[in-house]
Structure formats: structure tokens, C-alpha cells
Symmetry: C2
Subunit: 132 residues, 2 copies
């Protein structure tokens, strides 16, 4: 089975609270992760919610990165959705390190299954002639 | 176990190609879904990529909705990430119907686990006095 996209779901926990409230720093890290992976940034939009927490998205030609932080719990939810030739591992390693996460869970999902042709979709094969 | 957020991952397939290239219509549908769920829209950003496909995000106070379309495959990848009191089912039903998806897969992920206190975290209990 082939897929159109790949989606990494990162649960970054035990991150320093000071980082998780720092909207400009988080925007900078998410954009850097996109560049490190080889993605092309279309635009990025980040918001600092009062009193706590940052939400942001980096739209890339190859889909998107998003982040939401809960500083009071030391938690950041990061999603990286990509298609094409993207070095996901480099971006993921960078974010885990720069967010200072002491515990990490990463799920990988394939998105957009391209069904392969089943045998029943193919024209009937002509049986080779049996040797006499 | 309690969680900070809930993340629905929708695979909408066999959608009409004419819709999946229509950036203003898709933006309108995604914003309507956010409102129907009871979410508060912070901003929404949508892009039509040449020659095909739409990418967009609706940032809501309660996290985000994203969409990426592959019209040539009749496929739309939709993510709905929310926290708080949001009627996910109404938003999901609306999008499945309005995208005209003939086949749908929906995954639900809990995000941001809040660990409950284990017995070992509690102070030791004093054993009740045994009856004489």
C-alpha cells in the first residue's frame, strides 16, 4: 500500500514552563524544524493565549506543522504532516531537543491510502499453453 | 486517565474533484464546522496550490482544524484538534456530508495525558488498630 502523506504525532512532556509560554521562541523553533526537514514554508501564524499557552501553525508546501502548549502541565502537542521527500527524523529530533522534553511519545500515521489494483481488477490472464 | 485534548483524524475519500479544488468553498466549510462545534475562531488561512490542491487551517481558541486536499485522488485529509467543551460529532458529520465523501475513516486520539496519582504517591496509610 502506498500513501499520499505521513503524519507524526508528538507528545512532548516535562518541558520547561518558561519555553512553553514564549510565543516568538516557539514560532522560531517550529519554522526552523520545517527548514531542517527540507520543507518550504508558505506562512506561519502563532498566537499567545492569555493567561497561558501558545498555538501555532506553519503551513508548508508539503502540508503543515502545528503546536499547542499547556505550560502549566509542561506539555506540548506537536503535529507534523508531510508529503513528498521530507527528512522527518531530523525535524523531530530537533524539536524534542529544543523543547527540552524529558519524556516523548511519537506516533506515526500514514495518510491517504492509494489502493493497489487487486487481481480482480486486472483483465483475465491467458493461461500459457501446456507443453505437449 | 484524563486528557487535555482530543484529536480526530478524518480520511475523506471519493469526494468530488470540483469541490477539492475550490479554495473559498473549503475555507467556508471548515469555518462553518468550527462554528457548528461551538468553537471560537481566532483566524483561518487557506491556500490553493498550483496546479491542484488546497491546504488550510482554522486556528480556534480550542486548538485547530486543518485540511489538505488531493483532488486528483478525490481525497481530503482533515484534522480536528480540540480541548474543552466541543461538539465534535456535529462538526464531523457536517464535514463528511458537505465534502460529499463516499468513504470515510475516522480515528480518535487522546492528547496530553494527565497522570492520575498512583497509590505509591500517596502517604502511607496508618493501619487500623486490630480489634483485641
Amino acid at each position: 500500500m502506498n500513501y499520499l502523506g505521513r503524519h507524526l504525532i508528538l507528545e512532548l512532556t516535562c518541558c520547561p514552563e518558561a519555553l512553553l509560554v514564549d510565543c516568538p521562541r516557539i514560532q522560531s523553533l517550529m519554522e526552523a524544524a520545517a527548514r531542517i526537514m527540507g520543507a518550504t514554508i508558505v506562512e506561519s501564524r502563532f498566537h499567545h493565549f492569555s493567561p497561558l499557552g501558545v498555538s501555532g501553525v506553519v503551513i508548508i508546501m508539503e502540508s503543515h506543522l502545528t503546536v499547542h502548549t499547556w505550560p502549566e502541565y509542561g506539555y506540548a502537542a506537536v503535529d507534523i504532516f508531510t508529503c513528498g521527500d521530507i527528512d522527518l527524523e531530523r525535524g523531530t529530533d530537533f524539536l524534542v531537543r529544543e523543547f527540552g522534553a524529558q519524556a516523548v511519545s511519537i506516533k506515526s500515521l500514514d495518510r491517504g491510502a492509494l489502493e493497489e489494483k487487486r487481481d480482480s481488477d486486472l483483465p483475465p490472464q491467458v493461461a500459457p499453453e501446456s507443453p505437449v
